[in-house]
C-alpha cells in the first residue's frame, strides 16, 4: 500500500514539474530582431555542460588513461596506442572541443591556489591531477595518446628527423619558461596564456582565428618532420610531466627482457628520447673535473639569482598583460590603445563602470606589486631550469642498455615494435 502511495506521489510531483516546464516555455517576450545581418560572434569557450556529463568526461579520461597505460606497459601495443590516440582526437578533441584539457587546467589550479575567490571546478582539478598521478606511476602515458593535442601530432609524424641532443636540451627549456609565465599570469589572475595560444583547439572547434590557424597548421607541417613540436618545445603541462615522470615507479621499457644491444631501436624514437648505452667515459684530468664541478655548483645559484633579478626588473612590462594595468597605463598616457578617431572600447567600458581613475590606479599599483614578487620566482625558476639543463649536459650518465629517457619519453611505444627480444616466459 505504501509503495502505491509512493508511486502516486511521484507521478503527482512529475506532473507538477511538467506544468512548471510548460509555464517556463511560454514566450512572454518577443524575440529581439536580429534580421539586419548582425551575426553573434562565437564565444571562445564551448557551451557549458551539465555536471553529469562533466563527470562522464572524467570517467572517460580515467578509463582511457588506464587502458593506454595497460596497452603500453602490459600489451606493448603501438597499434593500441595509435587507436587510443584516434579515440582521444575524436572525443577530447572534436566532441569536447579541446575543453577541458589537462594542459590548460594548470592555470585553473594555480588561480585557485592564489585567488581565494576562485573556486576550481572538481572536474578541472581531476583533469589536472589524474594525468600527473598516472605519470608518477607509469610515465607519460597521458602524452602517448590521451592528450588530444599530442595525439593529433603523433599521427602525422611520418618522416621524423632526429634532433641533436644538445639542441633538444636547449629547445626543451622553452616549455619550462612557458610554464613559468603561465603560472605567473594565472597566479596574478591576469590571463590564461596557455588557452590563448593553444594551437590546435581552433581546429577542434572549427573556429580558429586566422593567426592561430596558421600557427596550428605550421606546427602540424613541422610535425611531419620534427615529431610533436608542440609537445617537445612548447607544452607547459609536458614540462610538468617531464619532471614527474623522472620519478615514475613503473616506466615502459624498450625491451621486454634483457637488452641484447642490437641497436635496432636506436633510431626508432622520433623524439630522441632513447638513452644510448654509454659505459665508457673519456678520461679527464682530475683538476679539470674538479674545476667543472666547482663551476657548476656556483653557476646554479648565480643563474637562479640572476634570473630572478633580471625578470623582476621587467615586472612592469610583464604586468602590462593584465588588463587593469594596461587600462591604467593607457589612461595615464592618454594613448587610447593606439586607436585614432574613436575611443577604445575598454576606455568606454571603464567610464561607464562608475569607477574612478584613482581607484583604478590603486588596483593597478597593487597588481604591479604582486608582479614584482611573482616575477622574482618566475625568473629564479627559469634560471634554475637553465642551470640544471647545463648540469645535465655536463654530467656523464651511465647506461648499459637502450632505455627510454624517463623525462622526455612520451610512451608512444614505437620503439617496442623494433625490439626483437621476446618476453621471458614464466616458468
Amino acid at each position: 500500500m505504501q509503495k502505491i502511495r509512493n508511486i502516486v506521489f511521484y507521478i503527482f510531483m512529475l506532473m507538477l514539474a511538467l506544468q512548471s516546464y510548460d509555464l517556463s516555455a511560454k514566450n512572454r517576450f518577443p524575440k529581439p530582431e536580429f534580421e539586419s545581418g548582425h551575426t553573434q560572434p562565437k564565444t571562445i569557450t564551448p557551451s557549458p555542460r551539465t555536471l553529469i556529463l562533466e563527470y562522464l568526461d572524467v570517467m572517460v579520461l580515467l578509463v582511457s588513461i588506464s587502458l593506454i597505460s595497460w596497452l603500453i606497459l602490459k600489451k606493448r601495443s603501438r597499434k593500441g596506442v595509435f587507436l587510443t590516440g584516434i579515440f582521444s582526437i575524436l572525443y577530447f578533441g572534436f566532441y569536447r572541443e579541446g575543453c577541458i584539457c589537462s594542459i590548460g587546467s594548470i592555470q585553473n589550479v594555480v588561480l585557485a591556489l592564489f585567488n581565494t575567490q576562485y573556486k576550481i571546478p572538481l572536474t578541472a582539478l581531476l583533469f589536472f591531477i589524474i594525468p600527473v598521478l598516472y605519470t608518477l606511476f607509469f610515465g607519460r602515458t597521458f602524452c602517448a595518446g590521451i592528450c588530444p593535442l599530442g595525439a593529433i601530432q603523433d599521427i602525422i609524424a611520418v618522416k621524423p628527423i632526429p634532433v641533436k641532443i644538445w639542441l633538444e636540451k636547449v629547445l626543451g627549456i622553452i616549455p619550462f619558461i612557458y610554464l613559468a609565465f603561465a603560472i605567473l599570469y594565472a597566479a596574478t589572475a591576469s590571463d590564461f596564456i596557455i588557452c590563448r595560444y593553444d594551437p590546435f583547439v581552433g581546429f577542434y572547434r572549427f573556429d580558429a582565428s586566422f593567426m592561430m590557424f596558421v600557427i596550428g597548421g605550421l606546427l602540424l607541417l613541422i610535425g611531419i618532420f620534427i615529431a610533436r613540436p608542440y609537445c617537445r618545445y612548447l607544452c607547459p603541462y609536458g614540462a610538468l610531466l617531464n619532471i614527474v615522470s623522472r620519478f615514475s615507479f613503473i616506466h615502459m621499457k624498450i625491451t621486454p627482457a634483457e637488452c641484447i644491444n642490437c641497436k635496432l631501436c636506436e633510431n626508432s624514437c622520433p623524439y630522441s628520447a632513447i638513452n644510448i648505452p654509454a659505459t665508457h667515459r673519456e678520461k679527464e684530468k682530475t683538476s679539470v673535473m674538479v674545476k667543472r664541478y666547482i663551476m657548476l655548483s656556483l653557476i646554479l645559484p648565480v643563474l637562479v639569482v640572476a634570473g630572478g633579478f633580471i625578470t623582476s626588473n621587467f615586472h612592469e612590462n610583464l604586468a602590462m598583460v593584465n588588463h587593469k594595468v594596461k587600462l591604467a597605463s593607457e589612461i595615464l598616457h592618454n594613448s587610447n590603445y593606439g586607436i585614432k578617431g574613436k575611443e577604445a572600447i575598454e576606455i568606454t567600458a571603464f567610464k561607464s563602470s562608475g569607477q574612478t581613475v584613482t581607484q583604478l590606479n590603486t588596483e593597478a599599483a597593487a597588481i604591479i606589486a604582486e608582479f614584482k614578487t611573482a616575477s622574482w620566482f618566475t625568473g629564479a625558476f627559469i634560471g634554475l631550469v637553465i642551470g640544471l639543463t647545463l648540469i645535465g649536459l655536463s654530467v656523464f650518465k651511465y647506461h648499459v642498455d637502450y632505455t627510454p629517457n624517463k623525462a622526455s619519453c612520451l610512451s608512444c611505444a614505437r620503439c617496442m615494435d623494433y625490439c626483437p627480444v621476446l618476453p621471458e616466459k614464466k616458468l
Binding site: 517576450f29 536580429f34 545581418g37 548582425h38 560572434p41 629547445l171 598583460v321
Partner: protein, 318 residues
C-alpha cells in the same frame, strides 16, 4: 645534408612561432572593435517615397527640460517640462510660467484645464499657470509618463506600475486599466524603459501602448482589452528595438501617429494598424533622440516635440 637544412629551417620556424606568441602577448595592440556591436545603420535607411509629410515650421521651446506637448480644441499648443508654455495656433507664445517641479506629461481638456503629471501627483492649472487643484498618486514607485482626458475622465499612464490609472476631473480614483488578468489570459503590459503612452480614440476607446510587445492596445470604458495592432519587425512597417512605439496620438480620421526611440522616426498607421507612410525619418532627428511626444491639431497637422533640439516641429501633409 638536405635533412640538416630542413631541420634548421624547421627549428627557425618553431622559433618564429614562439616570437610571434611573445610579440602578440607583450607588444601587439589588439583589435578594439566591439564584436557584439549591433550595427543599426541599415535600420536607419528608408524609402524616401514613403514620406508623406513635410516640415513647415519649428517652435523653439525655451525651457531647461522639455517633456511633453498637447493641443486643445482651439489648436493652442501647450508644452510642459520645467515650465508650462502656451502658444496660439499661429505659434505665438501667449504664456510661460515656471513649475516648481518638472512635468513629465501634459494634456488639456475641453475646459482649457491643463493636466500635468509631476512626480507622484497630478496638477490641474489654467493657461496662465494658476494651480486649480491637484491630487497625489499613492504609489511611490510611480513614473508618470503620459496623461489623456476624455469628456469626464483623466487617464494617467504609470510606467512604474505598468498600468493606466483612471480618475475623474477632481482626482477621484475610478479604476486601473491594462493590469494582468490571468483568469482571462490577458498578460501584463511589458515596459522596459520609461516610455508608456495613452491616448483617447474617436469612439472614446482608450489606446494604451504596450511597448515591450510592440503593440498598441484598445480598452473599452470598463477597462476590457478589445483589440490591438502592431508587430515587431526591423522593416519600416513594424517596431523594433527593446520597446516601441514610445508615443502615439490620433488624427481626426482615427489614423495613428507613432514615434519611436533608438531609431527616431514618426510614422502614420491606419485605423486598423496598417502602415501608411512616414512623417519624419531618422535623418531628420539628432542621433539617439528619444521622447518624441506627439500631438495633432484640427487641421491634421502633426506636432512633434523634439527634446534634443528643444523645438516643437510642425509637419503637414504633402
Amino acid at each position: 645534408m638536405k635533412k640538416n637544412i630542413l631541420l634548421i629551417l624547421l627549428i627557425i620556424l618553431i622559433l618564429a612561432i614562439l616570437a610571434f606568441m611573445v610579440n602578440d602577448l607583450f607588444f601587439s595592440h589588439k583589435t578594439q572593435d566591439n564584436p557584439y556591436e549591433l550595427n543599426t545603420d541599415s535600420l536607419n535607411r528608408y524609402d524616401s517615397s514613403l514620406v508623406c509629410y513635410k516640415e513647415i515650421s519649428q517652435i523653439p521651446v525655451d525651457m531647461e527640460e522639455v517633456n511633453a506637448i498637447s493641443i486643445d480644441k482651439n489648436d493652442n499648443i501647450i508644452a510642459a517640462g520645467s515650465k508650462l508654455m502656451v502658444f496660439d495656433k499661429n505659434f505665438k507664445m501667449i504664456n510661460s510660467s515656471a513649475l516648481t517641479e518638472a512635468a513629465s506629461c501634459v494634456c488639456v481638456n475641453s475646459n482649457d484645464e491643463v493636466f500635468l503629471g509631476i512626480q507622484h501627483h497630478i496638477e490641474v492649472r489654467n493657461f496662465t499657470g494658476k494651480l486649480l487643484r491637484q491630487w497625489n498618486i499613492k504609489n511611490s514607485e510611480s513614473v508618470l509618463t503620459s496623461i489623456a482626458v476624455d469628456e469626464s475622465n483623466v487617464y494617467v499612464a504609470d510606467a512604474g506600475e505598468r498600468r493606466v490609472h483612471q480618475f475623474d476631473f477632481n482626482g477621484k480614483f475610478i479604476k486601473n486599466m491594462g493590469e494582468e488578468d490571468s483568469i482571462n489570459g490577458v498578460p501584463a503590459i511589458i515596459i522596459r524603459s520609461p516610455f508608456f503612452d495613452v491616448a483617447i480614440g474617436r469612439d472614446q476607446e482608450i489606446w494604451i501602448v504596450n511597448p515591450g510587445m510592440y503593440l498598441v492596445e484598445a480598452f473599452d470604458s470598463k477597462g476590457k482589452l478589445k483589440s490591438s495592432w502592431g508587430s515587431s519587425s526591423d522593416k519600416i512597417e513594424g517596431f523594433c528595438g527593446c520597446c516601441n512605439p514610445t508615443h502615439i496620438t490620433l488624427l481626426a480620421d482615427g489614423s495613428f501617429v507613432t514615434s519611436e526611440k533608438a531609431i527616431p522616426r514618426v510614422k502614420i498607421y491606419s485605423q486598423t494598424g496598417e502602415f501608411k507612410c512616414i512623417v519624419a525619418g531618422p535623418d531628420q532627428f539628432n542621433e539617439a533622440t528619444k521622447g518624441l511626444d506627439l500631438a495633432t491639431d484640427s487641421k491634421n497637422k502633426v506636432y512633434v516635440l523634439d527634446p534634443a533640439r528643444k523645438q516643437i516641429r510642425i509637419f503637414v501633409k504633402k
